[in-house]
């Protein structure tokens, strides 16, 4: 059984462009692999931008490509960083990262997603945060999270990647939680961000 939060697309049109990367856990520490998150986000963003419709005005096309690359790489990097940080690596669970290209008339939507595994305990905590995020005014929540951690050098405002995706990139977020078929103690979480580009 799965649980859905926010705006989550389960079925995509049969014919649409998409790309998925898969990362297996490695013997190298996460710090050494960290740069790969941004490089992967750039790669996916560049890949996506080639499918943008042709604009007759070359300057406008260039601006749109640049803005799209920026949006997809920022949101993608945040989703991937979160997935890598929270992934339960003990059972060699993979992290997946990708994008779907949806086009309806003039409207192009990038659907960026990650899939990773977490413990049932972490899933409950994450779901509580998601409920807070979906109920709150995200602009106010941003200021609150910064103020909460302001005095401590070692802590960072939690959920800031998701908050900035909503506030600054007008992303619509959604999540799916499913119990892993191989282990009932593990939950597979898919995070999805839809941004109109």
């Amino acid at each position: 059984m799965s649980q859905i939060f926010g705006e989550f697309i389960e079925e995509f049109p049969l014919e649409h462009e998409s790309l998925e990367l898969s990362f297996t856990s490695s013997s190298r520490p996460i710090e050494e692999r960290w740069r790969n998150n941004r490089l992967s986000a750039y790669f996916v963003a560049n890949y996506f931008s080639t499918f943008l419709p042709i604009d007759e005005n070359p300057d406008r096309r260039e601006d749109r490509i640049e803005a799209t690359r920026n949006t997809v790489s920022y949101v993608g990097n945040e989703l991937l960083e979160n997935a890598m940080k929270s992934n339960e690596e003990n059972n060699h669970n993979k992290v997946k990262f990708g994008i779907h290209f949806l086009e309806e008339f003039e409207k192009v939507t990038a659907v960026i997603f990650t899939e990773n595994s977490i413990t049932t305990q972490k899933a409950r905590e994450f779901q509580a945060f998601i409920r807070e995020l979906l109920d709150a005014d995200p602009n106010e929540l941003y200021v609150q999270q910064i103020e909460k951690t302001a005095e401590s050098e070692d802590s960072e405002a939690s959920g800031l990647g998701l908050l900035t995706a909503i506030n600054d990139y007008s992303a619509k977020l959604g999540w799916k939680f499913e119990i892993a078929p191989s282990n009932p103690q593990i939950v597979i979480v898919t995070t999805m961000a839809q941004v109109v580009v």
Partner: protein
């Protein structure tokens, strides 16, 4: 003497005391608040010199992840205590994230002067 700086593979943060300016360049996507500490220390050094105006020039900062935005936001909030210093953040329109995210800093410090040109 060379200006104090923090450098990584893909970025550089440099404090220029003569102009009370901190320059950010490249892509900064460090993984944790702990990794941001050297940059925070450099910013604190610049703020503790109590200049009339302190400028953060991010025009050449192409990428900053949310941990970096958190670090910058916390520094800006901390500048509330430094009443004698005008904080200026200098961004560039050519870098799309700056037009989107820098405005958040104004909400944390209403006296902040944000210039995106």
């Amino acid at each position: 003497m060379a200006n104090p700086e923090v450098k990584g593979d893909d970025y550089q943060v440099q404090y220029e005391p003569a102009s009370s300016t901190v320059y950010f360049k490249g892509d900064i996507t460090l993984g944790s608040p702990k990794e941001y500490v050297p940059i925070v220390k450099l910013l604190d050094q610049a703020a503790n010199a109590d200049p009339d105006t302190l400028t953060l020039n991010v025009k050449e900062l192409a990428f900053l992840n949310s941990s970096g935005i958190s670090m910058l936001s916390k520094f800006v909030l901390g500048m509330k205590k430094k009443k004698g210093t005008q904080l200026v953040v200098l961004g560039g329109k050519k870098v799309p994230w700056q037009g989107k995210s820098l405005k958040n800093l104004e909400r944390l410090l209403p006296g902040l002067k944000l210039v995106v040109e």
